[in-house]
Structures are given as C-alpha cells and as structure tokens.
C-alpha cells in the first residue's frame, strides 16, 4: 500500500492508504477529522471543501495519495488560539447557517474565493460559491456573511500591516 505523508491542520500524519482512498475518507475515517462532511458522490455539493496547499478543493474528488506531501487545512484548523477566523464569525453574525451541514465547505470555499477577489461584489460571491450547495438558507445570508468576512479580513490585515 502506498505510504503518504500529509499535514492536516498543522499536524503531520504518515499513513498507508489504499490507492483508491478518497481524501475525505482519510480525513474523516482515519484521522478523525469529522468536521468535514460529505454531501454527495458527484462533486456537486461542496460540503467536503478543504484547503490544499492554500487553495480550495473538494476533498471527495481528490485521492489521498494525491495529497501526499501537501498541507491541508480543514474547518477544524481555522481558529487560532481559540479565536475564530473572521469568516467563521461572519457566518455566525449573519445567521448564514441553519443545519450547518454545508457550512464547513462554504466557509472554506469563501476563504479561497477571497484569494482572488478580496472584496467581492454580491454577484461575484454568488458566482464564486456556485459549487457549494445549501438547502437551508436560500443563500442571502451566506452572501452577506462572505462580504462581511471579507471586510473583516482586510481590516485585520490592515491592522497587522500598520502595527
């Protein structure tokens, strides 16, 4: 069985995996990283989104072996020192979740979206999150949250830059 080495939320794991093992199953079933859920089997829902070397991927469409040598951040690794990531705060503040099943994927996808567009318009958020489905919220509050998170992230960065 292939042996891989991955870093997940700052911790290194060396694992022997079947070549067909999906990254999301490695995370959930082997590493106990159950914060990342699975919503479909056709890469449509985005519930399983994580950051792989800084960019969002749907972890159900990546093989664990493909993640060999990579750095993965899941929803569980977002807060630092007990402080939530601004995007987590924004989702809470804007009531951007109901059942919360889509939320980990939405938050990870939203963070990645801001890489390319740190201040996205309403429309850009809607287009940018097209690959993440939510059945509960109707999306308006998610759009608000992403824009709020974006503002807070850039404020934080400014804070870092000026301090």
């Amino acid at each position: 069985m292939p042996r891989i080495s991955v870093t997940v939320d700052g911790i290194r794991y060396d694992e022997e995996v079947e070549p067909r093992l999906l990254l999301v199953h490695l995370l959930r079933d082997r590493l106990g990283k159950t914060g990342t859920p699975i919503g479909c089997d056709t890469s449509n829902c985005g519930a399983c989104t994580v950051l792989l070397d800084g960019r969002s991927v749907k972890s159900c469409s990546v093989l664990a072996v493909q993640a060999d040598g990579c750095d993965i951040v899941t929803i569980e690794g977002l807060s630092t020192g007990g402080t939530w990531h601004p995007m987590q705060r924004a989702f809470h503040e804007e009531h951007a979740l109901q059942c919360g099943y889509c939320t980990p994927g939405m938050i990870m996808a939203a963070i990645d979206l801001l890489h390319d567009d740190p201040d996205p318009s309403e429309e850009a958020v809607r287009e940018g999150l097209e690959g993440n489905l939510c059945r509960c919220t109707g999306y308006c509050t998610i759009v608000r949250a992403v824009r709020r998170g974006a503002r807070e992230m850039s404020q934080e960065q400014e804070g870092v830059a000026t301090s």
């Binding site: 093992l21 199953h25 959930r28 079933d29 106990g32 990283k33 159950t34 914060g35 990342t36 859920p37 699975i38 919503g39 479909c40 089997d41 056709t42 449509n44 829902c45 519930a47 899941t74 929803i75 569980e76 977002l78 807060s79 939530w84 987590q88 989702f91 809470h92 503040e93 009531h95 979740l97 109901q98 059942c99 919360g100 099943y101 889509c102 939320t103 980990p104 938050i107 318009s121 309403e122 429309e123 958020v125 809607r126 287009e127 999150l129 097209e130 690959g131 993440n132 489905l133 939510c134 059945r135 509960c136 919220t137 109707g138 999306y139 308006c140 509050t141 998610i142 759009v143 608000r144």
Partner: protein, 809 residues
C-alpha cells in the same frame, strides 16, 4: 445589478433592538440573538451520525433493485460471504420472519389498502432502489465491493409510472388489490348551485411534479446493542415517533430502545420517516452483536429517501361577473409510489382544507384518489399538501383574474376575509383565528413598487420587447402548528399532536430545558433559551436546551409541520409557569410573607411594597439545600408540561415576484421578489428571516428548477446532484422581506410558525409571474419546473393556431 441586489438584502435590517412589543424592555423574546448552535457548526465540532465511530464497528451496504417491478427468483450470497472483510451477507429471506412491515400511521379512509411493506424485499420488488440484500463488512469500501458478488435473478414485471395510466383497467398491478390506494372526499355547501349560477367558470389541471427533498446531510444510521438494550442513532427528525414505531415493528420493547437524533443536517420532511435502513440496522446489530453503521450515498438517497409532491390537480372555480368567488372544486390524483409509508396517504389531506385559501365562498368540493405506481413512495416534503393546495388556488385565482380582465390583486381584495371578520370559519370548516391580509398586501405592494412594474410591463408589451416582464401574486395562508390531537384523531391519524417540555432548575440557578421537539437547523436551542430567559428572569446564557435523545427527552412528538414553536414552545412556557409558581412558594416562605403578596419580575421575587426580595437563583439554592422549605414542599422547582393546542395556527402573507422572460430563449430571470409574512409574534427575527429565505428558495426551486424524472420502465433519471438541479447561490435572487405581526389568539405566545411559509407561498408567485409574462402570447399555463425549454415550448404551442390550451403536457 449589484446595487439592486444589495437594496433587496438590506430592505429589512435586523437590529438588536428589534424587540417584541416595542423597543427596549430588556426582554429576550423578539431579539435577534445569534444562535447558540453555531459554535459547534462553524468550527467543525458538530456530531453528525456518520461521525460516530465505535470499537468493532461494522459497516452496512445495501444492494438495491435495478428494476422497478420484478419477482425475485434466486438469491445467492455465497460468493459475497467469502470476500475480504465481509462479516455477513443477508437477503430479504434472512429477515422475513422478523422484519415486520414498515408502518403507515395514517389510514385515511375506510377503503384504504395498506400493502405489506417489508424493509428488505423478499419475493417482489416494486421500485428501483428497493433494498434486496446487504453486506456487513469491516469497512465501508469492503462492504461496497462485496455487493458486486451477490447474485440475484429477477423475473421482470411490467412497471407503471404514470398515475392516470395506473388507474386504467388493464394497467399492470403494483399490488394484488389493484392500484387504487384510497378515495377521500370532502364537501361543503351546494357546489352544484355555485357552479350552475356562476357567470364565470375556469378550470385548469396543474401538475405537481415529483421532488427530491435533498437535505444536505445524507441519511445515516448507527445501531448498537449490549445484548439486552439497543441504541439507534439516526439522522432523523423524529426520534420519539421513531422509537415507538421501531419498537412496534421489530418487537424490541420500547423501554429497551433508545433513539438519538444527534446533529441532523436538514430534513424538510424527508427525515420524518421510519425507514427500512433503520429497521434493518437494528436487526443486523441484534444478529451480530456488533455496532453497525450505514451511511447513504447521495445517489442512493435520491433513489430511496421518500419523494415529495407528485399530484395531478384538476381545479375549477366559479365566480360572479364582478369576481366574487362562489365555489371551488378539486379533483386530485396523488401518486403514493409503491407503498404507503409513515404519512404518505395523509399528505394530500393536509392540503384538503386549504384549497379555499384566504377566500370566502359558498361551496367547496374535494376528492382525492391515492394511486400506487412502481416508484419510490412519496411522503412529507416541506409544506406537505399545503404547498400543493396553495399553488392550485393561487394559480387559478390569477387565471380567473385574467378571464375577468381584472387585476389579480383587486380580485383577491374582493374575495379575501377582511381583518375585521376574524375569527372566521372558512368553507372548509377551519376557523382562522387572526390575520390581516390587507396590511400584508399593502406593505408588499409598496415594497415591490407594483404600479411602476405594471407600467413597465405595459410598455414592454406595447413595444413587443422580446424580454417580457411578468408579475406574480401569491396571497397565501397555511394551516400549521400540527396539531390538535382531536382533529388528528378525526382524520384517522395514528397519534396525537401535543408537545412536551420539562424545565429543570439546577442548584446554581442554571436551567435545563428538555424539549420534545427535535431541531435540525431551526435553532431551538437559541429560541427556547430566549423564551425561558424571559419566563424565569434568568440570563439567556444560563439556559441549556436538551433534545433529540429519548433517554433524556422521553416524551415528544418531534419537529415537522411548523409545529415546534407553536406547540413545543408553548409547552416550555407552561412548564416555566409551574416552576415560577413553586419558586414563589419558597420565596414567600423565606421572606415570611404570604405568596399572595409576592410578585415576580425579571427573576426576582419581591414582597409587594417592601424592599425584601430574593432572586430565583437564591431560591434555587435554598430549594436544593432544602433546609428551610414550606411544610410538605417537595424539594425541587422542576416542572413539566404537555401542551395540546385547540386549533391550528394560520400564518399568512403576500409574496410578489417579478420575472423577466426571454421569449426567444425561454429563459426566466427573477428580477425582484418581495415577501411580507405574518407569522404572529416573533421570538427571534433572525431565525424567522432565515426560515423565510430558505423556504422561498425551495419554493422557487420547484417553480423553476427541480423535477424527479423517471423513464417508462421506472428508472429514476435524476439520481445524482448533477442531474437533479438544486439551485445554487448563482441561480437564486435576493429577497426583500418584511413582516406584519398579527398575534395568533390560539396560544399564549401569539406565534404561528414559520418553517413552511416561504415554500408554500413562493411557488405560485413565481409561476404566476412566468405565465403573466407570456399571457399576451396566449399562454395560460407552463408546467413546472418552468425551464427555458418548457417556456419556449409553451410559447410555441400557444402560437400554433389550432392549439387552445397554452400549457404543454
């Protein structure tokens, strides 16, 4: 575009000061409290059923029928048993003696046929996806692998997927007794006279397409036993009902069965079910003595989570020349699918009393025939029966307006119940306790800019603009807060509609609330905390809400039908009242006063006219110590209450939708959407807004996007999320929402429920808008979902001179 959307989103800014009964006052009820639930959900610490891992746990995978209708002639599991990691393989035959029949709790009529429904098919399959065998293995991959090694021979039988065809004489029979499940009728007033004397009669047939509920969390079940008792974790909306039903089905005594609904990722009715997989996982753990887990894949779920809607509605309305509605007639065919599941036959009945909508009329006539087909059974899906009814009446009122050449708002004004007429008993016999349709409509028209949009529409029509503007109206009401037990009994439902709550006061004055409701996204932990904080004068943070586990919450009727707040929330209030009464006794005793002289405000008991007081926390501690209590006083403040409402509640509102329809491509774009809902008093405006938004989205999804499609052989063609079009953020508009507040008079909170309102209201608003855009071309209906192709075809058909019917079949 961006500005326009932004304007929509911020139309109703929710403010912290948004408080029931006026600003300030320090009350929790009415505040836009951020949710307690979020902490675990935004950090990935939620406990979904599939997260559960137990030592020695085995994984179950089901083999499912590839045929819609066939006899099982041979099953061979011998090779599968030898596959690596495989612990056991079972077929229907293995469970035949013990698996019982999946329950139907709603035998709606005397003539109903309730066929035997084995959790695992033994000799015949009746829909694609029905479980025929299963593998139990040491991991989920191995379980799935071994499915391929099971051999099953089928002798194909004819499928029947169309409910009209299913009623034909020569149709293939789904069950021995034939394809008619039941007929249910209801009539009030002289319908003959109403139609005979009317100046105008309009008849339409609407198709409520089959939908796949698609909660984002797939179903999952974990079953375990210690050899005596059983614990079942399930992604369910109904842990309490499930426990009773599983006990009855499997023979496991109720007191030996604990059912837990941990965090549940949405339901929308789809998890209001007793499923084959829940029964089978219990049986497997009983056989093997090991914990087992089953988690469905989405494709498996699309096939085997019960579907929604699927009705054929023939509705006619009779009216005077001035638009006064005289009567409504409804002839409904409802596709049951292959079996009757938990409330399958009851779904159309939940709509039966709502086809008169908010309108006054002399007579009403309703017939429903439940039909078996070789498809997945249907059952509750958000609104369950009421979206269908509301769609039909709101669509036909728009059609009547067109027939009369009258503005659809004006026609509604002439017919709706005036706010001065409440309480009003409708032609269907329901007593609507309160409402103000005028106020909600006025507000909606103003937010929408109705007159301006009508002017623009006239202009575009005049110019023969290829992109036409359509305006759709939906003035809905719904019957929710399920439900008065007596009424359910009179409709032959198998259980009651009460709800239970216990309030436990801990020694330090913190409070635990045990609720029989079972939230899966609705925010009960937050809302119930707000209610208790006000009732007992304790801080919001000091309240914990326990739910979804029959070992801690032993009594409940769970969450569906917009009932949780209206029934369960009231039970919480009533339990708090009892706690207060007890605490007052202790307070009076400690302050050496008569209880009659003690008043309670904001967590403090005070002897009237003196400075002497005790906080509820002090009383809690004194009660715990029990050193100095009134004679004979039982040393606890805890109390419980079970509330059974006298009546349903009736939220209402006005939804307006403007669409732009490109007559060349058939593409529809929602340009603006305004919803003014009256859900009575509001506990948390943030949660209410969220429910309205999500509801509207699901209603729009039915109008424009979603449909479960079968081929003639009964194969579901929309098994994946790639084929079944769930709208994404890019497909949906921003909504402008507002509220009017007419308190319900049927419960002490004055609340009406909000879980289903948006879904019920929005579908007809959108379709009315699409048809309105195309009316100048002679289109009188577009079947749902109104995809570009269907719009384009409807236009083509209407333009063909020989066609008189704008719709396409």
């Amino acid at each position: 575009m961006t500005e326009q959307l932004d304007a929509g989103v911020v139309a109703r800014q929710i403010k912290e000061s948004d408080v029931l009964g006026g600003p300030g006052g320090g009350r929790e009820v009415g505040r836009a409290r951020r949710r307690k639930e979020d902490a675990r959900l935004v950090t990935g610490r939620s406990q979904w059923t599939d997260n559960i891992q137990l030592p020695g746990m085995l994984y179950v995978a089901f083999l499912r029928s590839p045929m819609a209708h066939a006899r099982i002639t041979r099953v061979d599991t011998s090779v599968a048993r030898t596959q690596p990691g495989v612990v056991a393989v079972f077929s229907g035959q293995d469970f035949a003696a013990e698996q019982g029949s999946l329950p139907c709790a709603w035998p709606v009529s005397e003539d109903i046929v309730i066929p035997d429904h084995p959790p695992m098919a033994v000799s015949e399959v009746r829909y694609v996806g029905e479980a025929v065998a299963c593998v139990v293995a040491t991991d989920r991959y191995k379980a799935a692998d071994a499915l391929d090694a099971i051999e099953i021979d089928y002798e194909p039988l004819d499928a029947v997927t169309d409910m009209t065809a299913a009623l034909d004489e020569g149709s293939p029979k789904v069950h021995e007794a034939g394809n008619k499940a039941f007929t249910w009728t209801f009539a009030q007033g002289d319908i003959e006279a109403a139609f005979r004397d009317a100046a105008v009669r309009v008849e339409r047939t609407f198709v409520q397409q089959r939908l796949i509920p698609s909660a984002m969390e797939p179903r999952a079940v974990v079953a375990q036993t210690d050899g005596d008792a059983f614990t079942l974790h399930s992604a369910t909306q109904i842990p309490h009902i499930l426990r009773v039903m599983l006990a009855l089905t499997t023979g496991i005594p109720e007191h030996k069965l604990r059912v837990v609904a941990p965090d549940v990722g949405g339901g929308f009715g789809s998890k209001l079910q007793v499923t084959a997989e829940e029964v089978l996982c219990l049986l497997i753990t009983r056989r093997l003595g090991k914990p087992v887990k089953w988690t469905e894949s989405r494709s498996e779920g699309n096939l085997t989570v019960h579907h929604g809607r699927d009705q054929l509605q023939r509705i006619s309305v009779a009216a005077d020349a001035d638009g006064r509605i005289r009567g409504v007639k409804v002839d409904l065919l409802a596709d049951m699918g292959a079996y009757l599941m938990l409330v399958t036959p009851g779904v159309p009945l939940l709509g039966a009393f709502m086809y008169s909508g908010i309108y006054k009329m002399d007579a009403y006539d309703f017939t429903c025939t439940g039909v078996f087909t070789t498809k997945m059974p249907t059952d509750a899906y958000r609104g369950a029966g009421r979206p269908e009814a509301t769609f039909a009446i709101e669509r036909i009122v728009d059609e009547l307006a067109a027939e009369l050449g009258m503005d659809p708002i004006e026609l509604r004004r002439r017919n709706w119940i005036q706010h001065t007429e409440f309480p009003y008993t409708t032609v269907c016999g329901l007593t609507y306790d309160s409402g103000n349709y005028e106020a909600a409509t006025e507000r909606a028209l103003a937010l929408f800019g109705y007159d301006k949009l009508r002017a623009e529409q006239a202009d575009r029509r005049e110019r023969e603009d290829p992109v036409q503007l359509g305006i759709g109206v939906s003035t809905y009401t719904e019957m929710c807060g399920l439900a008065p037990s007596r009424v359910l009994g009179s409709l032959s439902y198998g259980a009651g509609g009460w709800e239970h709550a216990s309030v436990r006061v801990l020694p330090t004055g913190k409070v635990e609330v045990v609720t029989g409701t079972s939230p899966h996204g609705q925010g009960h932990e937050t809302a119930w905390s707000q209610i208790v904080a006000d009732a007992l004068g304790v801080p919001f943070e000091d309240v914990a809400v326990l739910h979804g586990d029959t070992s801690s919450s032993h009594k409940g009727m769970d969450t569906y039908g917009s009932r949780s707040l209206v029934v369960g929330g009231v039970a919480v209030v009533q339990a708090c009242e009892k706690v207060k009464e007890k605490a007052k006794q202790v307070a009076a005793h400690l302050m050496e006063a008569s209880p009659d002289d003690v008043e309670f405000t904001r967590g403090e008991f005070r002897v009237r006219g003196t400075g002497t007081s005790r906080t509820i926390q002090e009383i809690a501690l004194a009660t715990f110590a029990a050193h100095d209590l009134p004679d004979g006083f039982e040393p606890r403040l805890d109390a419980d209450a079970t509330f059974d409402p006298d009546n349903f509640s009736f939220p209402h509102g006005t939804h307006l939708c403007a669409v732009e329809v490109d007559t060349e491509t058939g593409a529809t774009r929602i340009r603006s959407y305004v919803a003014v809902d009256d859900v009575g008093n509001v506990v948390n405006p943030l949660i209410v807004e969220g429910q309205v938004h999500g509801g509207i989205a699901q209603g729009i999804a039915q109008a424009l996007f979603e449909e479960a499609v079968h081929d003639a052989d009964g194969n579901l063609l929309t098994t994946t999320m790639a084929d079944y079009l769930l709208p994404s953020a890019a497909d949906l508009p921003a909504y402008t929402t507002d509220r009017t507040e007419t308190p319900a008079t049927t419960n002490p909170l004055g609340v009406k429920g909000v879980g289903e309102a948006g879904t019920i209201a929005s579908t007809p608003a959108v379709v009315n808008a699409v048809v309105d855009a195309l009316r100048p071309y002679g289109v009188r209906d577009v079947p749902m979902p109104c995809t570009p192709e269907r719009v384009w075809r409807a236009l083509g058909q209407a333009r063909t001179p020989q066609s008189t019917d704008g719709g396409l079949s």
